[in-house]
Symmetry: none
Subunit: 196 residues, 4 copies
Amino acid sequence: MKLTKISAIRRKELRQAAFQVLQQEGMAGATLEKVAAHAGASKGIVLHYFRNKQELFEHAMREANLVLSEAVSARLRQATTPYERLEAIIDGNFEARFFQPSICHAWLSLCAEVPREPQLARIQTVIHARMRSNLMSALVHLLPRAECEEVALTITALIDGLWLRAGLQSGGLSRDTALAQMRDYLDHRLPFQPTV
Amino acid sequence: MKLTKISAIRRKELRQAAFQVLQQEGMAGATLEKVAAHAGASKGIVLHYFRNKQELFEHAMREANLVLSEAVSARLRQATTPYERLEAIIDGNFEARFFQPSICHAWLSLCAEVPREPQLARIQTVIHARMRSNLMSALVHLLPRAECEEVALTITALIDGLWLRAGLQSGGLSRDTALAQMRDYLDHRLPFQPTV
Amino acid sequence: MKLTKISAIRRKELRQAAFQVLQQEGMAGATLEKVAAHAGASKGIVLHYFRNKQELFEHAMREANLVLSEAVSARLRQATTPYERLEAIIDGNFEARFFQPSICHAWLSLCAEVPREPQLARIQTVIHARMRSNLMSALVHLLPRAECEEVALTITALIDGLWLRAGLQSGGLSRDTALAQMRDYLDHRLPFQPTV
Amino acid sequence: MKLTKISAIRRKELRQAAFQVLQQEGMAGATLEKVAAHAGASKGIVLHYFRNKQELFEHAMREANLVLSEAVSARLRQATTPYERLEAIIDGNFEARFFQPSICHAWLSLCAEVPREPQLARIQTVIHARMRSNLMSALVHLLPRAECEEVALTITALIDGLWLRAGLQSGGLSRDTALAQMRDYLDHRLPFQPTV
DNA sequence: AATGAATGAGAATTCATTCAT
DNA sequence: AATGAATGAATTCTCATTCAT
């Protein structure tokens, strides 16, 4: 590994701080100074570790996604049946520590930058690709091939839509409601699952 | 009407210009100068008509929503059956002139500001309330009361999720695919509709 | 004229201020803030009138050259014989108000940027072209065509070398010495001029 | 010698690297980091060997001058007649390895700092003093005492002016042209040299 | 109503320099 | 000797906003 230990630690601290500031301030308010302050460091150090602001938030997005996708992966590892795999994906995406207004808002802020920032767009593509692949690995056992893509896309859109709503912080969409939404959709769209 | 005719015209030009700049530049790039230039006016005039930048984009959001909700209303006026009402709402929300990457991106940019801008939050609340009310007026005739709220929320989340995806501009989500998604959901969730 | 009167005035003030700061501080020390302060204006106004620092100093160079070349032109207008024309060029380039250590230093600072700044390079090219053209218009009457180019180049190099030396501010090269140098060269290089 | 051998080597590497960076980037772009990178070392080491940036470039200037003045000295050692001595000085100053646009530009960048940096001014003074002394040792045998100073100064100014022009990189002043200029001047200014 | 001049706050970024290891 | 972590000052540049005309 090229990076020194301390540099790896600092970089992680900073990208986490960046994401936290994003939660509180949105992208416009997320200045390097605030990120530095949040990490208990000086302004200069941020650009010592990241070439510029974009790179910092790119890594912040990657990091946030990593945590989320590891939550899903961990659950997937326990799952055996297709239904369990679907449940793992959904439960992972709505874990209490993730599905919070401020975190959803941070994601929303990042997504709003995607069309202007090729790097973020790349990450977004990867995120969607992984989601699709995870979903497909379960759906192919439950539905005719032709319908799998469609359902995978609907599930993704539904998750995104619920996260967006949570990010708007207006309705006060609860985690339970969101999960109920997901389950209701699957109950009606997938063939009957005898024992769950 | 208090406002002179010319002032009303100018204000409309400016809020439309604001929304168009938002499409091209995102919120960060949407400066008052660009909005003015886009409207063929001088920088100073923007703040002559709007107290500040926030107010301008608040009106831009209102205007954009107005166009969208009128498209839905027009269709609703033609609809007679509950199924037609649902179709009106969905078709309105995915009209070709609205469901475009750049427009979805502009909305996404506005949504990302909602948690920091009470005025935008208020508009967002109104938008969702109207959507819910429109949907409920159809759903109550098709489903048991207890399920209506849930389905209305799912439809809204699905629409939002599909718009978000379009705004991300990566997948290249076509209008037809989006509509197919919506119809597939309704087909499975609502009771069979004998003749359409 | 597109520019308003006040804008033209301000721009002139600023490019003159820029050149004066250059005299005192060199390019590295010539910050926009100092230029603004020197012109008795706010920092922001500088970039209201000039797109960026480069553009400001580009105009400062142009302005400084304009003054210099007008001094030469004025003298040329009085000159009738080739010898007088040569004298006009030289005297113009060594006028007391120009040939001062700080001004020579400012020019030196600009020249040092020429290889990195295409705009400055362009101006430099124009300056040299004009100098050559002025010199040639006199020399062709005094020397065989083949030698004119060479002598014009030597005169230019000599002027530049003397300015450079003045800019270095070490030797304390006086204006009289510089003029004597020039005359000594011409006396030996040009054919004898019967009456001056 | 106080300095360890390795330290002497490093210092030389660094001042050469400094001069090379100056060639490519000019003074504004010549950061310690680039110098370090150019020398294949870390940023910290530069200020381990030189108290600060000024000192580094002071040594860079000294080093560059040393190479140049040794080239002249070597040629002077072969020279026997006054004319040969003059030729040695001129040929040394226009050796192909020195008289290159980028090197002239580096010198120009250093000269532009002279008025602000007493250390550089001191070096500049030494350089000019040596040039004068070298020239005088030849000229006193060729011209009346009263004219020697003047001609020495003209030769120096001419060399400087030609170097400056080469540094501007616009005209594309060739080495041959520069040498021809020098010779043409001497041919006309010095008494006829019977056999060369 | 309209222009654009002017301001000043604020942000990103660069860099010399200092220190701990 | 050498590295690179860390700091903070300085600078360019952007922009919303205010004002005079």
